[in-house]
Amino acid sequence: MTAVAAPPLAIEARGIVKTFPGVVANDRVDFDLRQGEVHALLGENGAGKSTLMNILAGLDRPDAGEVLVDGTPVSFGSPREAIAAGLGMVHQHFTLVPSQTVTENILLGLDRPRFLLRERQSEAEVAALAARFGMRVDPRARIWQLSVGEQQRVEILKMLHRGARILIMDEPTAVLAPQEADDLFATLRSMTREGRSVVFISHKLGEVLAIADRVTVMRRGVVTAAGLPTAGATKADLARLMVGRSVLESLDRTEFRPGPVVLSVDGVSATNDRGLPAPRGVSLDVRAGEIVGIAAVAGNGQSELAEVITGLRPCSGSIRIGGTPVANESVGSVIAHRVAHVPEDRSAVGSAPNLSLTDNLIMKRYREAPVARGWLMDDAAARGIASRLKDDYAISSPSIDTPVRLLSGGNLQRLILAREIETKPGLLIAVQPTRGLDVGAIEAVHRLLLGLREKGAAILLISEELDEILALADRVDVIYEGRVVGSFPAADADVHRIGLLMTGGADEPEPAIP
């Protein structure tokens, strides 16, 4: 693709500067996108990738610099103006209305039809467009019925229906299983074949090399490599450009010395919020001093499994903690069995946003001395504990009276882990413990989890990051559509095979439905 006569530029951004209070998100950034190419934008969380793309897509205005689309200077005041110029962005968090159909979502905000909704006609248009780019989507389905991968297709269709010739995809594979990612790549290629261009934001080196023609690397708001052809690049090169140091996180793991079984789940089934079966007859064991990783694509019942074990969701089947049956016990009694829980939604479930650090840190121990004194609470004791944990776990915050909604994601997660680990749990259920955190914070969370394992706790780690599971777990259980479809010691785990199992491409017969 590095031909002498390079194709014309679809986007050219020159000298983009954008500052937010206290941080320079983009420092004189140059970026260009050729027609018909996939151009990856690589960088860690916080490197300034999304800021740059938000500027291109009309969500933000730069403090300085200029943007040209098809050679014409533009200054988009809104995403609508950007899309009118043929530039559409698919965000990491979809902006779809769950209660409306695929077609209604695609029509949303358009000038046409003028007044009356002609549903049949629009549905046919949507179906035709989907077929053209090899996307399988039912135009009449309601969004809440769709998988994450299908929802992403709706977002792409929405942009194509609006005539997007340039598509910006913000970390599109973060929510996809490997095979879904392959489908996405096929769609993107069919788009570039038509002369459309794609900006592909990612922090995963492998997929950047797989899909992109060129790559631009950013670090802390600065471009460290501009428009590098991927043909000759290696992962090591990109990693160095991205992080500025060796990336391979070295985790000190002690030898795996499993103790007795702490958590024993046997034939557990439950329904999700929509009343559909989520975990379907799941059985697994977690031993003391062991981390069991659950590998599954979002929405396969693993979140519900965590809720079932922690008492937040009713279930059928048997759950034993240290031999005691706890299925369908109250959350309080599960906590009393020394079960700690790092929930998936750390800001809405794991913490009370407007309450102070102190209040949040005593959430699991306010019933016991020294915080509790009869039916009263000992304020001084609570504050003492909070101060100590704040220091021990390096929770960065002005004071222990600060409401926790003001904490960054990494600090909030440290707070939750501090609280949970300090209950000296026999079992920890950790769900997506590093989602949305930056590299430093991820490393801190990983060290805390391994430290807890060393102390002999049993840990059930549910994560959509396969790399994270492989780095931490002693054993990997793969869950697909609510069933355990494979279980491997981490040492023998084969990424490709796990990926297949996670997406239902099982190579052995599934257990029959009882």
């Binding site: 769950p98 979502n105 909704l117």
Partner: protein, 321 residues
């Protein structure tokens, strides 16, 4: 007791609830809970009535009532949409404000006669057996306006482009915003529309259905009943209409039944004039509770519940609906 007359009067009484409930449906479908319906209705009632008293023109009164209702709702809109105040508290404040202000402005209007809106019989339709006399004979023009409003409101919400945008704003404002739909603009528009319809409902009382000004007894909780009806109606104008007419009939029935002297030879069967009529008068309010219980349960079961973003201020750039 002539059942036809009772039902016809019930339809008229239900029209008041209907306007208020449909207005609240619009506001809530846009994601803004406005509990101030009672206050807005009282303001509309007093504005319409006093205009009619002083000008002798009930039509002018109707328009003034709608404008006043809209203005009062605008206050709620500013406070909840721009200033992100709690919609529950602001709605309650609106009720207090509307009630107090209406009493202040209505001082001296009691027992004053005002010109009321005309009653009309629709020539051919009134001859339809059973339904004709109930729906189309000697009804206030506002009753017919109600007949028109319901299908229009439903059609607007479910079958048009502006309706699609309205639903999106109430379900997922961030998604609507991303598509260039002005979330604030639409929310303002529909909250004000809700106020206009509440003002209309108030004026429907004082200028058409039961003319006169009786202080805060004029509306007497009907605004709150309308709010309850919205839950019962699952945010659907047609179901709201059914509920409103049903309630109207119950209200009328309770009043009329007290005048019945004998049924099947039993003297004074409903103990009218005795203190037990208080139990009859409780019924509509108890019925709302029952209706809300049923509404809450079926809503959760069928996942056709409240608009997802109802009650949540929208701030661009904050994630989660």
């Amino acid at each position: 007791m002539d059942l036809t007359l009772v039902l016809a009067a019930g339809v008229a009484a239900g029209t008041v609830l209907l306007f208020a409930a449909v207005g609240e449906i619009f506001a809530e479908r846009a994601g803004v809970l406005n509990l101030g319906v009672e206050g807005m209705m009282l303001m509309g009632a007093v504005a319409g009535f006093s205009t009619s008293v002083s000008t002798g023109n009930p039509w002018l009164g109707l328009i003034v009532a709608m404008v006043v209702g809209g203005l009062v709702a605008l206050l709620h809109a500013v406070v909840t949409i721009h200033l992100r105040a709690d919609q529950v508290v602001s709605g309650l404040a609106l009720t207090f404000l509307g009630t107090g202000l209406a009493r202040v402005l209505g001082e001296g209007l009691t027992n004053r006669p005002a010109a009321t809106l005309p009653h009309v019989t629709i020539p051919i339709l009134a001859e339809i057996p059973l339904a004709g006399p109930i729906l189309f004979r000697d009804q206030s023009v506002l009753v017919y306006l109600g007949f028109l409003l319901v299908p229009l409101a439903w059609f607007w919400i479910e079958r048009t482009r502006p309706g699609l945008h309205l639903r999106a704003v109430g379900e997922h404002p961030a998604a609507a915003d991303a598509q260039g739909i002005g979330v604030y603009r639409l929310r303002y528009a529909y909250v004000v529309l809700g106020g206009v319809l509440a003002g209309l409902a108030g004026a429907a009382i004082t200028l058409a259905i039961s003319p006169g000004w009786f202080g805060d007894q004029t509306v007497n909780g009907r605004g709150w009943i309308a709010v309850g009806l919205v839950i019962f109606a699952r945010w659907n104008p047609i179901r709201a209409a059914i509920g409103a007419y049903l309630f109207g009939a119950i209200f009328r029935f309770i009043i009329d039944v007290q005048g019945v002297h004998s049924i099947l030879g039993i003297e004074n069967p409903f103990l009218a004039g005795r203190s037990s009529t208080f139990f009859l008068e409780m019924l509509p309010y108890l019925f709302v509770v029952v209706v809300v219980i049923l509404g809450s349960r079926s809503a959760t079961r069928q996942r056709i519940g409240a608009p997802a973003a109802l009650g949540i201020p929208y701030v661009r750039g904050e994630r989660g609906v």
